[in-house]
Symmetry: C2
Amino acid sequence: MSSRAPGAEPAAPTITNVAALAGVSRATVSRAFSNPRVLRPETVTRVREIAAELGYVPNPTAKALSTGRHGLLAMIVPDIANPFFPPMIGAAQGRAETAGLALLLGNTDEDPAREHTMVSTLTAQADGFVLAASRMTERQIRSLADRRPVVLVNRDLSGLPRVLVDSADGVRAAVEHLAELGHTRIAYLAGPTRSWANTQRKKSVKRAAERAGVEAIMLPGRVSSYEAGMQAAPDLLETGATAAVAFDDVLAHGIMAGLAQHGISVPGDISLVGCDDVLKAQVYPPLTTVSSHAADAGAAAVDLLVQHLADPASPERRVLLGTSLIIRATTVTPH
Amino acid sequence: MSSRAPGAEPAAPTITNVAALAGVSRATVSRAFSNPRVLRPETVTRVREIAAELGYVPNPTAKALSTGRHGLLAMIVPDIANPFFPPMIGAAQGRAETAGLALLLGNTDEDPAREHTMVSTLTAQADGFVLAASRMTERQIRSLADRRPVVLVNRDLSGLPRVLVDSADGVRAAVEHLAELGHTRIAYLAGPTRSWANTQRKKSVKRAAERAGVEAIMLPGRVSSYEAGMQAAPDLLETGATAAVAFDDVLAHGIMAGLAQHGISVPGDISLVGCDDVLKAQVYPPLTTVSSHAADAGAAAVDLLVQHLADPASPERRVLLGTSLIIRATTVTPH
DNA sequence: TTGTAGGCGTTATCAA
DNA sequence: TTGATAACGCCTACAA
């Protein structure tokens, strides 16, 4: 068992060592850390002092085995390279940290099967899950939720705590904005088919277009990537639309590049709106887009999870994060 | 202990259940999974079948307590929102996954103190660490390495396994390229002071400039952010340089924006080179930059770590990932 | 090839 | 307020 390279790892002190030195039982040492209130204050301080001297720290694994709580949260995302997720992950990790929890990260590459096996493997180690834009089936998710607390981000399943970046308002505003500018034929370039955000945005475009009395043309779903956007450019041109709303900024960005290859300029020839505001004003021309709050969503999700962990009977919660239109430079009156 | 909400969590089967049903000892069940070769093949299959029926999976926590191996790797990054890191993290998680390991993610916000406490907390749960662009002191890192296997990314400490994205070649090529274009006064906009990559790039700019017989002006270090780049624009203008190399693409990108605010255009008035190629050709104008291989670095780091875990006596390794200049549109002959 | 038995470090129950 | 003691689920000498 202790076959270490010489000089390495001088065997961390255990509760037994502390107990011996403090002249108390191991139970007392344990209580001095996990339930000090039942102890005489002076006992607590004495035990803790000795523990500090020894550099004793309760072994989380042993604690986990005994309590069934691991101090670990798992966060699963479809594509960490998508700029929408890093801020969300960062915020989630931060909140977990302040709650004394560590964060396990899983990247599924948009593959539902991989997501499912990943979640299955992790379910033995994680106290709870944040599933961001999960591509698993409803049945799979509910089955997981039966075994571990689950919080969903951008997936709307009744009965489960979830935080939704509700882009309906923002997208509606985008369509109205385009209509007001004089566009009468607006395309929507869809994102991942299984994505809740995509179906929501698609629906919102349709409705808003109807209400504004303009035509909405739906382009087939794509993965969210710059390349996919480029490839979609010809399809967009075929529609004859003078304006387009893209599933997200990454796709919109790719479309701009693709259109440029065809000699079509944005916004000169076609107006374009993105989603999520992950590019900020950092591209040229600055993209008109629908705001998003990925970081807030990540923080809220972890908060929900922590709360659910503390009180499993806490009421179901559905957190809605609003969005709005950010008008920059890619939307103008049609020539 | 088992105070669950009614109907939830039907107590996962344990090794004892399997043993009972299979009519063997718990030791045999254990061996059927962790050391099947010592068992009669038919025993292995029978035990595994019964285990499968029961849905038995070895409890990783119990295993960890017994073996001291947790099946967890920790990866610490200074800023997950920096586009340099997500691909690296994604690749690292992928390699860890194929090695049967899960990935703990820590984000330090460039704060050495936070990094240190984070690492200390995690050291009890993680089998090893990947420290990306660590801001800790050498002493702190070595102390950690005494307790757990550590692989460094973009930090060059002798005796520790490390993978370095060696941008020296690329940066040198960038300076030579600028000199050939006719620039005689080149500024380097530094990045985070504690960053190994930064000192390396700075040095490389100096040397290359010397050799090329052009002047190199060093601008003070900044954090790597779009905003910091914008703020640096006036400083850059003051130098009178006709070309600049920025610590990374994010800063370069900010500089472009900042210069634009001053009515200075890139590359019309000033040529600009970035680093890391995180923007690809996705900005306008497309940025001349030095390639990088963040994803490869992440994968290599985990591979090194896994190897070190399998054989602690394996030789120290220092993996160098080369870079090269990618000429796009932000570098031209001075007016 | 398989079983026995003890241990990994904590927590929790029950007494005292 | 504290102490024994038995779990928690698995691994691993050692013995058979």
